[in-house]
Symmetry: C2
Subunit: 335 residues, 2 copies
């Protein structure tokens, strides 16, 4: 007599119905070639007559394998991550892994909490946004002996697999594009200011310094970026530095918002003010004029992560490496 009459159909029920033991049913599901064809058919029909649904917890506990992987992303509302994710899910999904998604809200403390949660779910790998983690998170990861992917930015000291692009270099390159067009008074507008945003800004600053120009025209906020914020911050910047010739925005949302504000003010872009964003989201090609931006290889990042992670999961040895997938500057019409 069961302690809790869960009502749920188990392997045992199927086994009784068919007249075999449960291990045979288990085999029929996982290694069909080890079960005779006739029996397999009877098992299959019993399974869908009774409506059997496997118990993932029991399987994971017994086998030590969860067939799942955790993917942490900073924010669900940021379109940047959804493309990376698509590549990861397709690649890992085909290999039989379930991808569990968590979002950190750009906080490494929350990341730490999620790492703990997902390790207790027994995930077989973790994919983390960024290369900065709390000490405790690093300890957890080290003890777990599980493949780890750090993505988006690059580091010289990866925990394991690192796939991304050089955000600092990208910031410099876009700034150089402004310089090449003859602009000199180039500002930087940033929101959220997570580590990657800081790297981009540092790239802008470095390029300006190298060109012997002032890097003072800079406005940032810790608030999450949005279209509206882009417009509001552009207004502040123009008030403070009316001589601005161009503004490099830390991401496409801000750039688009800034562009809309220029339209409201009847400020011609790029003649009176040049603008650029970062990431190469769909909107940059749709606005009038199209926005200059740094096109990041998001889909490629996702695919690469899936490929390299699968290799590790199938036994390739740990050998900390960084893979730089680069970026491309697109001039659009706003620069």
């Amino acid at each position: 007599m069961p302690r809790r009459s869960s009502g749920r159909v188990t392997l045992q029920h199927i086994a009784e119905r068919v007249g075999v033991t449960k291990i045979t049913v288990s085999r029929a599901l996982r290694e069909p070639h080890l079960v005779s064809a006739a029996l397999r058919l009877r098992i299959e029909s019993a399974i869908d007559e009774l409506g059997y649904i496997p118990n993932h917890s029991a399987g994971a506990l017994a086998s030590g394998r969860s067939h799942s992987v955790a993917l942490l992303i900073p924010s669900l509302s940021n379109a940047v991550f959804s493309e990376i994710q698509r590549g990861i899910e397709e690649g890992l999904g085909q290999a039989g892994y379930q991808v569990l998604i968590g979002h950190t809200g750009y906080s490494i403390l929350e990341e730490e909490r999620l790492i703990d949660t997902y390790l207790s779910y027994g995930v077989e790998a973790l994919i983390l946004p960024g290369t900065r983690h709390t000490d405790h998170a690093r300890r957890l990861l080290a003890r777990a002996r599980v493949p780890v992917v750090e993505t988006l930015e690059l580091t010289e000291t990866p925990l394991d697999i690192n796939v991304g692009l050089d955000q600092h270099e990208a910031g410099k390159a876009m700034t150089q594009a402004f310089l090449d067009r003859g602009h000199r008074k180039i500002g930087f507008l940033g929101a959220r200011m997570d580590y990657r945003a800081q790297l981009r800004m540092a790239g802008w600053e470095a390029a300006m310094r190298q060109a012997g120009l002032s890097a003072e025209r800079c406005l940032t906020t810790p608030h999450p970026s949005s279209y509206r914020l882009g417009g509001e911050m552009l207004a502040s910047m123009l008030e403070r530095w009316p001589d601005l010739e161009g503004i490099f925005c830390g991401n496409d949302d801000l750039a688009a918002g800034a562009l809309f504000e220029c339209q409201r003010r009847r400020l011609n872009v790029p003649d009176q003010l040049a603008l650029a964003g970062f990431n190469g989201l769909d909107i940059t090609e749709a606005t009038a004029p199209p926005l200059a931006t740094v096109v990041t290889p998001r889909r490629g990042i996702g695919d690469t992560i899936a490929r390299r992670l699968l290799a590790r999961l199938q036994g390739a040895p740990l050998q900390s490496t960084s893979e730089n997938l680069g970026f491309r500057i697109r001039r659009g019409g706003s620069l």
Copy 2:
């Protein structure tokens, strides 16, 4: 001697270290008030010395409770869902539930697959986008005897909890707003054309018919919507129906894309062409002019789902009900 030397720290290890049995350690974690304070402290320090991470599968298997809930959303890149999700995660997270996210890609077949997957994970509730499901999915849900939330649109025959808004009514109301402004040749532009998009379009059609006007100026595509697509489709529509006075777009992305195309063509919005979107995303307030839109109560939907689901999880009886959270028309400046 363990079969697999997993190396992982278990309750047993903690128990040995402290000199008690594992059930006491388990209690110290789940029901601390049942364990004496002194012992509790020793257990806690052993836990973080040894770096114990609970095994969720084992706990779920033994207790029959997974403390997790599945949330299926159509698309991760659609900002509409991220706000709903935030409300759900906050509400359920506080109550100790982990929210597992899956995306269906707007396909009820994929939804069916995910329902199966998450039921095997033992989720204690499912939150589904929409009210249409495959027959097999309905059977799975019925057998699972788990609370189910259907959201976004409304139905007269909810499986269990239904929270959303009347998409058809909203489509009609926005069309009426066009009519109130004196427009007569009002077109509809739609993409993806999932069930909700169809309902909105049907609302437009109904309102036009009721006003004795033609509902022929309609262009739709099964492709996913995007800013670019909005622009391209606007171009097609203007070519086909040069007399258009206004266009109701099935969502904000399309409307924004259409607006950008108007800017490129130096078509004044709203004087030469009125535009409206659907959902009330951030971008509608940022463009020049701001876009008319149907503001949907996304955050409220998320909060309501969390509240009502918690009630059910804490024992409230099943009583199929629909909750209509309404909508609001915002005229913006494009209408």
